[in-house]
């Protein structure tokens, strides 16, 4: 019997490990390295209505225990994703979580409606960290009302459950989480990247052409753990956690904080086999901690010990 299978809205996961959006493309490259059917799910690269080239290069920069990226949502656009990428992915026995992005509500709605109908898309992940052109570029994910309204409208059109991906660049993450929960979100994914910058001291210019970029990797893990710890105690919907995951131990830390599944982003670049490695290591780790099933770990850092003692071996 598996100690790793997890049921979440729309998702029957063999295991709770999946690559994070933007860090795995549409799976093609990694499929040469290992069998994608091993993964719990795949969060594919953000899809927008039209194809996007993204930002000028350099688009990435290294930081201490992290990296900055400003890819700029490069993707082949809704039609190609639906007609080429998703059918190609359907050869694998793995649910797809489609990351949906846009610069206006209308964009999101259009993409959500269509992409959610693909047979292997089992859930959407709304990327609300994108700048909203109608409010002068303020990200959807930093204003509770805007995020809530977007969630509501996407829910109306989506054929599958909708997870909203929270931006950590806010004063009050609980307020954002509650707003999208009230908007009808079936789950949360958190966190997206922190906004950061590096400056090249030889040129005096930002290393990244776009100037600012999103900070990801182990550096941000403590921020993610804190936010999931706070949010999971205040909402009733499940959380897929992410931010700097690099080991099976990190997965447990995310579960203890309150996550029900975990995505691995940046560390795929450091070790392309990291997802299958973590999946392989989890069962032994879980048992050595005294659990029969990984789901027992969720929220253990804040659930009362009484509730949990029966889980110990």
């Amino acid at each position: 019997m598996s100690a790793l299978n997890i049921s979440l809205p729309g998702l029957e996961l063999k295991n709770p490990i999946m690559p994070a959006s933007g860090c795995f493309g549409f799976g093609r490259e990694y499929s040469d390295l290992f069998d994608l059917s091993q993964l719990g799910a795949i969060m594919i690269k953000a899809t927008t209505k039209d194809a996007r080239f993204g930002n000028p290069t350099p688009r990435v920069a290294e930081t201490s225990a992290g990296m900055l990226n400003a890819i700029g949502l490069q993707n082949p656009g809704l039609t190609k994703v639906v007609e080429e990428e998703l059918p190609w992915l359907s050869q694998f026995d793995v649910p797809i979580i489609a990351n949906v992005a846009g610069s206006m509500e209308e964009d999101y709605i259009e993409v959500a409606k269509e992409i959610s109908q693909a047979p292997n898309v089992h859930a959407l992940e709304l990327n609300i960290s994108c700048p909203n052109v109608k409010t002068g570029g303020i990200a959807f994910g930093t204003v509770p009302e805007i995020a809530q309204s977007l969630t509501k409208k996407v829910k109306e059109v989506s054929a599958v459950p909708v997870y909203v991906k929270l931006s950590p660049n806010v004063t009050n993450i609980v307020e954002m989480a509650k707003a999208v929960e009230q908007g009808g979100a079936d789950g949360l994914t958190m966190i997206n990247t922190l906004v950061g910058m590096r400056i090249d001291i030889r040129t005096g210019k930002p290393v990244i052409a776009n100037k600012t970029g999103g900070l990801s990797g182990p550096a941000i893990k403590p921020v993610a753990i804190r936010m999931i710890h706070e949010v999971s105690q205040q909402v009733a919907i499940p959380i897929i956690g992410m931010g700097g995951v690099e080991s099976a131990e990190d997965v447990i830390e995310y579960f203890y904080a309150g996550a029900s599944a975990v995505a691995v982003g940046t560390m795929n670049f450091v070790d392309p086999f990291i997802c299958p490695k973590i999946i392989a290591e989890l069962p032994e780790l879980i048992h050595s901690l005294g659990f029969d099933h990984i789901s027992e770990c969720t929220g253990r850092s804040w659930k009362t010990v009484e509730k949990l003692t029966h889980h110990r071996a």
Partner: protein, 259 residues
């Protein structure tokens, strides 16, 4: 096929100021097909530095199951790489990308190989392949200064070799493009790797010729998944079509992408 392997360091030598020649042994050598491919190196096991470093394959020895890289120890990662000693293990991902098309030069033709600085290394394996095919190979190699020159003898053994230094401290003073003109070098195919301004100058100058350029770009994954290293295609320079330097390149035909 791309493999990830802990390769064993066979030798590491400083062959010019801050320029290291590193030879490692591993099974992934069997996967190395084209000159101009690269590997992605994790220089230590911790998180500092976090990302892998792309380094070209400079020489492949299938019999010994080894390959050689030549790199400049400059930043955090390459300086750590330079501390590796014989017997140490190095985490290598590769071979990556598409290299120089050897088959584009016929046995009777002349190939001109133009390298600049740390763009020189992949030309060494290329030159060996070409000469093995009977191609006549001419090398024009530019370096910053005398102390940065490396592999002059090695290239000379494969064909005529001209060296330029930017500061004039050794051999020709000036740019590789000056040498090609001043020496009236003629060729059928040009292969080049080096700083972007040099590549641009060559592309410009020899637009009617067969030219293959190896590009450099900041990378994340190195395998084509993260979209860090894209460039516009030449036929759609402001549109959405693109090539990835890591997996479609690093070698492109001149005129294929915007550099």
């Amino acid at each position: 096929m791309i493999k990830q392997e802990l390769c064993q360091v066979i030798d590491q030598t400083e062959i010019a100021t801050n320029i290291y020649e590193l030879t490692v042994k591993g099974e992934l050598v069997h996967e190395m097909k084209e000159p101009g491919q690269f590997v992605h190196l994790k220089v230590n096991s911790g998180l500092s530095p976090l990302l892998r470093r792309p380094i070209s394959i400079a020489n492949i020895n299938q019999d010994e199951q080894t390959f050689t890289m030549i790199y400049r120890a400059e930043g955090k990662g390459t300086r750590l790489l330079a501390t590796l000693q014989q017997g140490d293990l190095l985490d290598v991902l590769g071979p990556l990308g598409h290299g120089f098309p050897v088959e584009e030069t016929d046995a009777s033709d002349t190939a001109l190989l133009v390298g600049g600085g740390i763009g020189v290394p992949p030309l060494y394996e290329l030159s060996q392949r070409l000469t093995a095919n009977g191609v006549k190979v001419i090398h024009v190699l530019g370096h910053q200064t005398k102390n940065a020159v490396f592999y002059e003898e090695e290239f000379k053994q494969l064909g005529p070799t001209f060296i330029a230094t930017a500061d004039g401290s050794y051999a020709y003073s000036g740019f590789v493009t000056d040498i090609i003109k001043n020496e009236n070098i003629t060729f059928d195919v040009l292969y080049t790797c080096g700083p972007t301004p040099m590549l641009r100058a060559l592309e410009q100058e020899y637009r009617h010729k067969k030219v293959f350029l190896s590009l450099e770009e900041r990378m994340g994954c190195g395998i084509g998944a993260c979209f860090a290293c894209v460039c516009h295609t030449a036929e759609d320079p402001t549109g959405v079509s693109y090539k990835k330097v890591c997996s479609d390149g690093p070698v492109f035909k001149a005129g294929e992408v915007v550099i």
